[in-house]
Subunit: 520 residues, 2 copies
């Protein structure tokens, strides 16, 4: 099987993502992840551009790497200068990595407009800088900046830039679509021409400005590129770089090519999430292959098919990338999906049981009112138990008042609640950061005398969604909350035009669910 | 220029997105947006599957559409049944749309495993169902389910399914990559073969399971497909459908093909966001073409290049899609943007005015607290006026109480408010659908005695976002509201841990802004 080399630039190009700012510790953690996973080249940063990267390269040299070669990124020497006089090149050497990535201009328009030097001088800078680094024992990856734009405007000059890099002794010639605007078939065509023209192996570096960076990268590989540059989760400036996660999966599962060890593939799910965690960027759950939605089925016919044979509606076994299959609840889910869910609650329920029809009707009615049980499985379970006539209320609420006075300071909300449990009444009041917080505190205070385990319980998430926002302040709202007792987490939902009532419904479901769990 | 037809399925396939649940109102709003934008076919839902879609089709028939043809989605009749006996086909007809999309099986494996009927019977179902609908005057789009998987396993049978649809009189034969696993070059190759083989125009329907749905769709167009099916923002089951936004931009700007009127292209930015707002899905700001990051440049070389000539680092002029250029992490860029905004409020403010620094500090502090003034320009303007010392309060609030008792029915919330205007006091009380509605009614009732114009004003939008949802019910929330006086609309924002206080801040800003407008 042909081996494709992976070059990760999460720590350099990926660090240019809006909202991403890695600490040195973050970078070290990502290097370890990429090395364990088996990425061939890990570009750590630009030691000539900022002190954080200098510190990073000092500390990363202490980490023994098993699979990855560390790369420092920098540019050719400046116009009119020799490489050994250039402070940027000197900084690159001080990073002390086995490999350097050097970017050089391939578009004559940029040479004139940005560098403001002659075309010949730019070629000299490329060749000499690379030769200097190679003589000092470095492996050099040449990043041909704006290669595709350059080639489409002046193919001879773009080619001359690659030839200069090859003459200097570069190990790789990487064709960069720096502005991300090249159409994917042009990327394929031009890459093929370069593979045929040059002796040195070709790499590809795409950006996602047209939404096609993954496809462009894989087409370049089909055209003969033997290295793919990209970032984990497609982090990067503007719309991001090519996302290495689906590229790795695509190379293996769709193209039959190899890039990492077979055992690493089920780690893709974990790798994508860990890098998101370190970057503190919410993971996109719709991500190909590794998102939690990637193998989640919502349509009724689809779920029905999956139950008959997963190959009917899955292009890949989710285990192959460490992911898993999920069934979602919804009005479009139909009876099969519902039955699959119901089976977990009450194994004797069948597709044609009268209770199943009854539950389905109740579900449709609730969804019509604005309920959504996806992500609120505990409320769904309670609804099913109620439909089955197995619901025994553990407590009842006799009285309930929430008030906020002149709500301009914090903590101005109070709640007073009276509950009854087994014939005994109890009144509690609480003050909170807001009315919902006050309700939560008051009701748990009132009930925990009877059910001490409720004290250990707390809310971990609270979401509000206005359903018909054009109804403005009289709109219907849906509140979803997540609760935990330290061991498990469950989610509930409430809907009303009154946001306090919607919160209250979700809150009471959460308490009832906890007590139901204990009685099981 | 060749015209490519767009077929939007945001309301059908897109509704299968995890986390998306459209109300009937949401769907009607999206139909209006798509019609205004100029989408050719708008698939509204599956009237045979759920009561919400039935209600939707009833109401949408009252909306006059200028550009779009409305489509109802359904399947072929069942095995062993005639179309005129099939309840699903009857439901489809009751939707009363000019066009129907009928999906039928093209993969023999599915015919055997899912339908459990003979290959011949499936072909009969396709042909007869389509013929029946065509005779009743419908335009029929045939969605060839699993066409690519089917073709790769049994090309003769997949082709026979298309031939049956053509014989039945379908206007379009759409090749669906239902499971999203077909490699993009196979999509191109097979599409080309079908374009050459069939007389009926070919459409393409891709899913994003390999991260290449945009590229696959555009390659299919290159191969001769004349219709693209997809969804706004790529909503859809699992990893989503092909995203129509970059597809539209790609067709126009990268392929030189036409699909919507030239004037619509600068609406892409707005369309993508509005559909996200209606779906209440956080918009992905890294989206190609229309994300706020899509033309955002970080300092250094890129910004320097852009200032010399935008073509150096931009593949497209952001104005072309209604987007704009931004400079990030750059004191100069940041201040320039702010000054441009300030100029509209107070023309004498310069980049180096002391007030500019003061406003910048206030803005940073507010943003740190969780404020966001994008989409809340009225609150921003008030903040600036306050920083400039030009703010004169029109009224003051002396006293304020909101209470909800046993909030299980509707209309259980009351608000009591005392205001003072020019030395005169007034107390008002109101009852509302919820506490925020009660506050809104009470405060306008109290003030409209002094400012009768406030009576004509009302709220048109109310949005809540929990900022640190892990803080659960003690979390900080941001409320954004939109108000109108019938002539213009303005937006304001409030942030607090108390949702009523956050709403109150936004509400008061809205009233103050209205009065400020009148005094101008």
């Amino acid at each position: 099987m042909q081996k494709i080399h992976l070059f990760d630039t999460t720590l350099r190009d990926g660090a240019q993502s809006e909202g991403v700012s890695f600490t040195v510790e973050d970078k070290l953690r990502i290097v370890r992840l990429l090395d364990e996973f088996g990425i061939d080249y890990v570009e750590g940063g630009n030691p000539g551009s900022n002190p954080k990267d200098v510190e990073f390269f000092r500390r990363v040299s202490e980490i023994p790497l098993r699979n990855s070669k560390l790369v420092a990124f920098g540019s050719t020497c400046r116009p009119g200068m020799e490489p050994d006089e250039d402070p940027g090149v000197a900084a690159l050497l001080r990073a002390n990595t086995p490999c350097c990535a050097i970017f050089g201009k391939c578009w004559d328009f940029h040479v004139a407009t940005i560098l403001r030097t002659s075309p010949e001088e730019n070629l000299r800078m490329i060749e000499k800088t690379i030769r200097y680094l190679v003589r000092l024992g470095k492996e050099v990856v040449f990043d041909g900046e704006h290669f595709f734009d350059g080639y489409q405007n002046n193919p001879e000059y773009a080619l001359a830039a690659l030839r200069a890099a090859e003459a200097g002794g570069a190990s790789w010639l990487v064709l960069c679509d720096t502005n991300g605007g090249t159409f994917l078939t042009d990327i394929e065509k031009i890459t093929r021409k370069m593979v045929e023209t040059m002796k040195t192996p070709i790499g590809i570096h795409c950006h996602n400005d047209c939404g096609m960076a993954i496809g462009s990268s894989l087409l370049a590989v089909r055209a003969g590129a033997a290295m793919v540059q990209g970032t984990i989760n497609g982090f990067g400036e503007r719309c991001g770089n090519a996302d290495l996660i689906p590229i790795i999966a695509g190379l293996h599962f769709k193209m039959g090519l190899s890039c990492v060890a077979q055992e690493s593939l089920p780690q893709l799910y974990h790798l994508a999430r860990e890098v998101s965690n370190v970057a503190n960027i919410t993971f996109n759950e719709r991500s190909p292959y590794v998102g939690n939605s990637a193998f989640a089925h919502k349509g009724g016919m689809h779920m029905d098919g999956i139950l008959k044979n997963p190959a009917t509606f899955e292009h890949l076994n989710p285990d192959a990338v460490g992911n898993s299959r999920r069934f979602l609840l919804s009005e479009v889910g139909g009876r099969s999906g519902l039955v699959a869910k119901l089976h977990q609650i009450e194994p004797r329920l069948r597709k044609d049981s009268p209770e199943t029809q009854q539950i389905m009707d109740a579900l449709k009615q609730k969804e019509f009112e604005g309920y959504q049980f996806e992500g609120a499985e505990a409320s769904f379970e309670l609804m099913v138990i109620k439909c089955l006539g197995r619901y025994k209320p553990a407590f009842s609420i006799l009285d309930f008042t929430v008030f906020c006075e002149r709500p301009e300071g914090e903590n101005s909300a109070k709640a007073v609640i009276k509950v009854m449990v087994g014939g005994k009444e109890r009144l509690s009041a609480a003050e909170g950061d807001g009315p919902v917080n006050a309700m939560d505190l008051a009701v748990r205070d009132a009930l925990s005398v009877f059910f001490p385990s409720l004290q250990a319980m707390h809310l971990t998430d609270y979401k509000v969604r206005v359903l018909n926002s054009e109804g403005a302040t009289a709109a219907r709202v849906r509140v979803q909350i997540a609760s935990t007792d330290g061991k498990r987490t469950w989610r509930t939902v409430g809907v009303s035009t009154n946001i306090l009532e919607a919160s209250w419904i979700a809150l009471i479901d959460s308490l009832e669910y906890k007590l139901m769990l204990e009685n099981k």
